[in-house]
Subunit: 645 residues, 2 copies
Amino acid sequence: MITESENGTTVFDVLADDAPKKNWRQWLIGRPLQTADAPKQTIGKAIGLAVFASDALSSTAYATQEIMIILAVAASGALQYVFPISLAIVFLMAIVTISYEQTIHAYPSGGGAYIVARDNLGELPAQTAGAALLTDYILTVAVSISAGVAQIVSAFPEFYSYRVIISVIMVLFIMTINLRGVKESGVLFAIPTYFFLITMVATVIVGFVRYFTGSLGMVVNPPEFSVIGTIGVVTPFLLLHAFSSGTSALTGIEAISNGITAFKEPRSKNAGITLIWMSSILATLFLSISFISGKIGAVPSEIETVISQFARTIYGGQGVAYLALIAGTAIILIMAANTAFADFPRLGALHAGDGFLPRQMTFRGSRLVYSKGIITLAIMASLLIVVFQANVTRMIPLYAIGVFLSFTLSQSGMAKRWWKSGHLKPGEELVEPGSTIHYEKSWKFKMVINGFGALCTFIVMIVFAVTKFKDGAWVIVILIPIMVTVFFGIHHHYKRLAQRLSLDHYKNSIRVNRHRILVLVAGVHRGTLAALAYARSISPDVTAIHVSTDPMESEKVRQKWELFGEGTRLVVLNSPYRLLLEPVLDYIEKLLTLRGPNEVLTIVVPQFVPSHWWENLLHSQTALMLRFALIFKPGLVILEVPYQV
Amino acid sequence: MITESENGTTVFDVLADDAPKKNWRQWLIGRPLQTADAPKQTIGKAIGLAVFASDALSSTAYATQEIMIILAVAASGALQYVFPISLAIVFLMAIVTISYEQTIHAYPSGGGAYIVARDNLGELPAQTAGAALLTDYILTVAVSISAGVAQIVSAFPEFYSYRVIISVIMVLFIMTINLRGVKESGVLFAIPTYFFLITMVATVIVGFVRYFTGSLGMVVNPPEFSVIGTIGVVTPFLLLHAFSSGTSALTGIEAISNGITAFKEPRSKNAGITLIWMSSILATLFLSISFISGKIGAVPSEIETVISQFARTIYGGQGVAYLALIAGTAIILIMAANTAFADFPRLGALHAGDGFLPRQMTFRGSRLVYSKGIITLAIMASLLIVVFQANVTRMIPLYAIGVFLSFTLSQSGMAKRWWKSGHLKPGEELVEPGSTIHYEKSWKFKMVINGFGALCTFIVMIVFAVTKFKDGAWVIVILIPIMVTVFFGIHHHYKRLAQRLSLDHYKNSIRVNRHRILVLVAGVHRGTLAALAYARSISPDVTAIHVSTDPMESEKVRQKWELFGEGTRLVVLNSPYRLLLEPVLDYIEKLLTLRGPNEVLTIVVPQFVPSHWWENLLHSQTALMLRFALIFKPGLVILEVPYQV
């Protein structure tokens, strides 16, 4: 297609539609997809539960254990508080669920904390929520994978010393899967989630039957817990501390509100029902595990998880049923990591689209996924796993604070929204980028619900930060403000750049009046002459520069230049300190001070191009170093004329 | 100075003699030195001994222990062989000394193994000798520093677990000293060497006096040697193995032959006498230590060195005299590492000067030292120390094989040289690059001596390689051929490059007939227009290229281009796979196939220059990627027009 426009500019449209060539990368992540191939499938409630619940449900695998670890330090009798604390957490879970239920109906096109905060509270809260969520996704991957591997090494203790490397390999495996692009709507997701659900529900039922028939014994050979009972008293601080650890059960509850668009119509209703189901199952399983674990005298341990003790006590050994539950738990944990791999890049792209993260994060790779975000997440999570040696308990203090910060901001945003909705006239509409606000009759009631949710999650966040400050929460307390500052720094850069590059009020076009050229000459050879020919083709004003560190060599250069230099002026810079770059920089500096308006200076560097990349190590990279040294000087262009050897 | 040459080329001589600016690097390594500042001082025999003997003498600190370690594995009674084996090593030492005595007189301007092999045997033996020596210098640093630190931790066992980090810090410290440039001729070197000599000789004398008066007891609380006596029999292989370990005593004996030019006239005579002195002292100390250590029942150990046991038994405790000897030993070992820091970069520069290593290794840094060689050595030695956890015994199997290979090649070269000398007429001279060969009456006798030296060192090398093959000698057996291959690969590259760049038979000068320019346009802004102006200033044939991944964005670009493009042709490349680089590469590929002779294609890439380097992370580096992708295409220049934001 050729379009001839009125003012003489010709526009050619070339369709470069040949698919990219095959290579190792295609073998790893699959053939490229066209932009038009983006999937548009939607899912029902049963599959929706499987897709979005893995993160939330998987926390049943470690939440009980984390409460126990804190209590066990105080006194062995303190473990009786596990169940009451679990009840309090389930109460909090109910509040958060009801709050999110309202969000889902208000934001049918997806209402993650970032969007809700951005639309209702402004940039600073939105960036804070985003920073909290991004750190949280990284921790989700690290914690879930570590906890999954902990299940595996509970069943096979001979792998205990390999847990870090197994975890990292798993992260890289999930990264690869995600770089290929996972169809979230797949039945693939339903199988492991329902497998976990069935095995876990079955175990719980068997457990209760044996408990009520009195045939449920205690854990046989429980693992040792070395610091048990060292404090001796149960303080309110300790109970709050244990409660904080248990709140990790709430992570992942927000997942459905991000993904409403994936549901079949009526979207909000389907998503809302799925959320209720998810929370009910989560609460039931969590309470059951906490209750039975208390009755059987399970002991928190790094070597064997509470889930493993729970399962082998209920089934009276490590048979097939035990292994099925351990496998199901490990798989659901790995699926939870996978959820973070879906959410982190998408949130990153939202930030980047708003100009708060590098724009490259909005580019979709050959498989239509945000590859850069996926790789970033994998690297950060792997680092965490290595630093914390795949120890879940040591990562928990960093974990839930981000979740509760985003809950608080999201619910506050919703409360503000209901307040705005209450100030509209019936029938009136307020169109905002994310969603449209209608008048809502029961706005006061809904505002109170979301406001109460915000308050509760805020209090929990403070409790968490205070009780776990020393254990690592301080890292997040410092990190989130730093991240927000960086985000605004990036935003400032893009805004300023757009301003500086803007063509509004752009009048006089740039004219080049004089074009001076310097050719760097280390020796006189075919490469130099190619560069000289190039220089002379673009301007008649050419000077050759030679830095002399050895008078004998320089004399040779002079003689050869007389023969081959075609009369071009040669300037020899003597360098008694054997420096190569600095004399050139000095000379250029002097030229620049004498420069007239609209005068351009171009430095031409002859560059050999060897046949193999490693041969570059055998030559000094003068052009590269000049570029670094001169990049900040305006009106100066450095160009290499390659000479293929 | 301005010279006007006959054919119109003007030559300006500019003295860029301002000393470089102050920065952290100057603070660390001192103010720069001019090329003319190179030192020309010479030294006498007493200082010469101190400068060149530290490497050789320092091996007395570990050679005895290394023999013991091998024997102790067999049976505790096997330690009676330590002294006979030491005698055999001293015999070998005498042969090598006499051989090198002849080299010193034949090569008054310095006759290291590399030069002797190059001048008499050819390139392959020379490169082999050089590769052997370079690996050997790296090992000298690693072994000497590790052994020095082992002495320190023998006296202060609480530092045992920090030995690796202490060793690495010491390597970096010596590196810094050498980057500042050490005046080898300094009295500074004499103090520690003579301190060691005095304390060691005194200890040996006290030891003998106590032995002959019968007051010398056994080692009190000897350290444990866990694997003692596991084999039970003393085989000939075991004796050869122990002998091989002890030959580490010979390392460093060649140092004087490299540094003859540093001596006062008559150079060869002074250097020769110094060599005899050095060998005599080395032999005496080594035999004494082996003898007394045997008598007192010293036990080889990683925790406490034999020297430490030897000293505390002779002095009856860990008093001042003990500490003085330990300090002297530690210091001489560190000085030995320093010798390698002087020799490695100099040998590297010799290789590089002959075109067998990257030319950059011949550049002298601001302090007139070969900085790149010094840094390379420090990195390699630190790596070795970390890998071998500063364990001398584990490094010894890699050590002496290179030394004996270079001895063999050096002595063979000398033998060949005597043979050539014998075939000259009396009074006739054969001028060679390194030295002049005269007729020598007693050439047969001298040839036999060097030939015998070559044979002995060759046999020892084979014995060493066989007995220590499994322990690590295989690494060197593989490494040296690889290094030689790489050296020749580099040489081939430089030779081929010189040939390709040569102006011999160069006739038709390069002419540029047509100069086409492509300007990459991602968006239309001030940066793009600056690039367009630059492009139009160098050629009228300009095409703008825009890759379209988003039709809406592209439409904006088209409209703006009509306003600001000054009528320049715009080509829009549609990219359904969202690739940015590949469509441009395809387009360039097509242009190149249509190109006429002497036609040049220049790609102009507008490049923002942000005020801070980190802001570059916020932009895709298109120019950089294009450069990588297109570097091998001839007649193509890529240039960035920077736009300072």
